[in-house]
């Protein structure tokens, strides 16, 4: 039985994952490229949570892909393929990050996020407001919905995500760009549900903010 000799039986995997693994083991380039296309950017954004620069993150992801390929013949399918891939990635990134931490000044790791937060366009009444404490003083301006369909919206979202602190960027990448569920994100990044939601909420709030002034222009 050549298949058995090849690697684990993969009996626990979903049919979809099993087919992927078998095609990869058979050397199917199209399957590999489709996986790269689907996961590479996400992997870079996740890696950026542990290392100091985009360039290093790219290297780490290359390393991770090689690790994934090398592990593939022995992969037994005890967890979904994606979870396994990202575990390899996170391990590579953490290892590189800890090596870097010894050579890179800490300030360099933080430099991205020191810029001042943009002022919200909308505002709330003060906590001592006699009638409506904490309610809108200036509510959000309506958005012109068609603007969100514009390519400019994507440019703004992307630029804002790149400015986020790395841990917020990891979470919004997996949750909102890739549409992973909360449990899988927590498992991959080894963080609690509550922490994950705080990070996601902060990230979404900033991205919304980055769209706000612009999306409201030209609204009815």
């Amino acid at each position: 039985m050549p298949d058995e000799a090849r690697g684990g039986a993969l009996a626990l995997l979903s049919a979809e994952d099993r087919a992927l693994v078998e095609r990869l083991r058979a050397g199917d380039e199209r399957t590999f490229l489709a996986m790269v296309e689907k996961s590479h950017r996400t992997m870079v954004r996740v890696a950026l949570g542990y290392v100091s620069s985009e360039a290093v993150a790219e290297e780490v992801v290359q390393e991770a892909w090689i690790g994934i390929l090398q592990g593939l013949d022995k992969f037994e399918g005890r967890c979904p393929l994606r979870a396994w891939m990202f575990r390899i990635l996170v391990n590579c990134a953490k290892l590189r990050g800890s090596r870097e931490a010894r050579s890179v000044p800490f300030s360099a790791l933080e430099s991205e996020n020191t810029e001042g937060e943009k002022r919200p366009i909308e505002s709330f009444r003060p906590p001592d407001d006699p009638r409506w404490p904490g309610h809108w003083a200036q509510g959000p301006d309506r958005w012109a919905d068609e603007r969100l369909a514009d390519a400019e919206a994507l440019v703004r979202v992307k630029a804002e995500i790149e400015k986020l602190p790395p841990n917020q960027r990891q979470v919004i990448t997996l949750r909102d760009i890739e549409d992973w569920d909360s449990a899988e994100v927590c498992e991959t990044l080894q963080i609690s549900e509550a922490n994950q939601r705080v990070l996601l909420h902060r990230a979404r709030t900033k991205v919304r903010q980055a769209l706000a002034g612009w999306a409201a222009e030209g609204a009815p």
């Binding site: 013949d73 309610h135 509510g139 994507l154 760009i177 979404r204 919304r208």
Partner: protein
């Protein structure tokens, strides 16, 4: 009682609960508070709409193309791996 309506959510508090609200992670009473607030508050209703639209716009980033160089490098690695094993 320092607050006239202790069970009532301020807008400022509501906007901080939206991720939990959308995830279905709020407890029953908080969820009801959010829903009731949204019934009468156009500001928060608009904010929620924008929050959802933001998530929708973010989702579109998944369709981005990969630079050719990255694809070629990895394809090389893949071929190398296949032939080496």
């Amino acid at each position: 009682m320092s607050k006239a309506r202790p069970q009532e959510l301020a807008c400022k508090e509501l906007v901080e609960l939206l991720t939990e609200f959308l995830d279905g992670a709020l407890d029953e009473s908080s969820r009801t508070q959010v829903e009731q607030h949204l019934v009468w508050c156009p500001g928060c209703t608009e904010y929620l709409r924008q929050f959802r639209a933001t998530i929708g716009a973010t989702r579109k980033l998944s369709e981005e193309d990969l630079p050719q160089r990255v694809r070629e490098n990895l394809l090389d690695a893949f071929r190398h791996w296949r032939h080496g094993s």
